[in-house]
């Protein structure tokens, strides 16, 4: 170190060290985050200070909105339309949806960018049931979900929409879906990335095509299956 009169090239070593650390973190980070998450989940669910949501400790939720602020809807103002290529269009109030048979299961929420929240308890109405009740016509190919944020919409094929783990979610963690999570009613699709699970759901439109939706127009894959 003392041999060079100008000193050791510590700056270069710091940069290379950080780049190495970063690369190691990319490869192992998923497991580290999982471990941290298991340790911290009990704390985070009961954190009154909100501090744990400020630091990236464990697998935390991230809330997305693609428009300005979204006006909340409740049991009196909420309605879900089923429209498009169906023999029996319908409109459901929140109470109508709550009165239907409910499906409950626990599944992860995955964002395409990499973050995920494991073991979320979901409850809702199977989309397949609502589609059967609406009776899609012979020309029907896809389903378009519209959000009452006025901007967001996304598609699935009719077959994808009928999968067992696609629900019109009314509850998360045993409580009604909160506004920030897209409540009172959102889609949840267990096998697909989050951008397929439309928040603030206002309309399910049966369509003759499977056109790209909001994020697919901005580069995400048309079939949003997790791991693909």
């Amino acid at each position: 170190m003392g041999a060079d009169p100008d000193g050791a090239p510590v700056g270069r070593r710091v940069v290379l060290g950080l780049l190495g650390l970063g690369a190691l973190g990319v490869v192992t980070g998923s497991r580290i985050q999982g471990g941290l998450s298991e340790l911290l989940a009990p704390v985070q669910l009961r954190d009154p200070t909100g501090f744990t949501s400020l630091v990236p400790l464990g697998n935390t939720w991230r809330y997305y909105s693609v428009t300005g602020s979204v006006a909340p809807r409740d049991a009196t103002s909420y309605a879900l339309k089923v429209s498009g290529l169906v023999d029996r269009p319908a409109t459901y109030r929140l109470a109508d949806l709550e009165a239907m048979p409910q499906l409950s299961f626990t599944d992860d929420f995955h964002c395409v960018t990499g973050w995920h929240v494991p073991d979320v308890p979901w409850t809702g109405v199977r989309l397949a049931g609502l589609l059967d009740a609406a009776a899609p016509t012979a020309e029907a190919v896809g389903v378009r979900f519209h959000s009452f944020d006025g901007t967001y919409s996304v598609n699935m094929t009719l077959d994808q929409a009928r999968a067992d783990d696609v629900i019109i979610a009314l509850r998360m963690y045993g409580d009604p879906v909160t506004h920030n999570h897209g409540g009172p009613v959102r889609i949840y699709s267990g096998s697909m990335y989050g951008y397929k699970s439309t928040k603030w759901l206002s309309e399910i439109e049966v369509t003759p095509n499977n056109d790209p939706g909001y994020w697919e127009d901005r580069g995400y894959p048309l079939d949003g299956f997790i791991g693909e």
Partner: protein, 202 residues
């Protein structure tokens, strides 16, 4: 002319321009990062795609002035000074009385050197992990999860470094003048960067 006699040239115009551009882009990156990361701010601001686009392109642009600075000989000379750690630098870091001037400090003290390279290295890491998160087809999902993990923590670390940098700047008007005008008072240089002042006096 008395002022220029009592002052030293510290930063060349090219260096000040690089600093201004990096500062601006870094500020945009950090503000948009806070919006994208924090749920309450996100829900108030919304427009995720717009915020994300600004964040990504500011981030991609951030290293450009850092690298383009190398066109200036003064910038290259200062990068070299920042890179090299002398035995006095290590002593300065370990000393509890490092600010009293007993250990003659060169143009940059050891803290400034470390900060510079932590910022540079973190910028590189954030650039790489950010690219992986943005172009989702590049690597498999578990690596994207890892990239998100790394991006979050390095962003937090870099944010703290920038806040620390600003706090030191607020506390030292003469250091700010150096970056604003390019010149610093001789007495300030003697007190804060003794070895450099000696060098400048010839």
């Amino acid at each position: 002319m008395s002022e220029s006699l009592g002052s030293f040239a510290r930063f060349a115009p090219a260096e000040r321009l690089v600093h201004r551009l990096v500062g601006l882009l870094m500020g945009v990156c950090l503000v948009t990062a806070a919006i994208l990361y924090n749920g309450s701010i996100m829900m108030a601001v919304g427009h995720r795609h717009l915020v994300e686009t600004i964040h990504v392109w500011s981030g991609l642009a951030l290293p450009v002035p850092m690298v383009a600075g190398a066109l200036s000989a003064a910038y290259r000379a200062d990068v070299r000074r920042l890179n090299r750690f002398t035995p006095a630098d290590w002593r300065w870091l370990r000393s509890r009385t490092r600010r009293d001037g007993t250990i003659a400090v060169g143009k940059f003290n050891a803290g400034q050197k470390i900060n510079a390279w932590l910022v540079a290295g973190s910028t590189g890491v954030l650039l790489g992990t950010g690219a992986v998160m943005y172009w989702t087809g590049l690597v498999r999902l578990s690596w994207r999860s890892g990239a998100t993990f790394v991006h979050d923590w390095f962003a937090l670390g870099l944010g703290l470094l920038v806040i620390g940098h600003i706090v030191y700047a607020i506390r030292d008007p003469e250091a700010r003048r150096g970056m604003r005008t390019g010149r610093v008072a001789r007495h300030w240089a003697r007190a804060e960067h003794g070895a450099w002042a000696e060098e400048m006096d010839g």
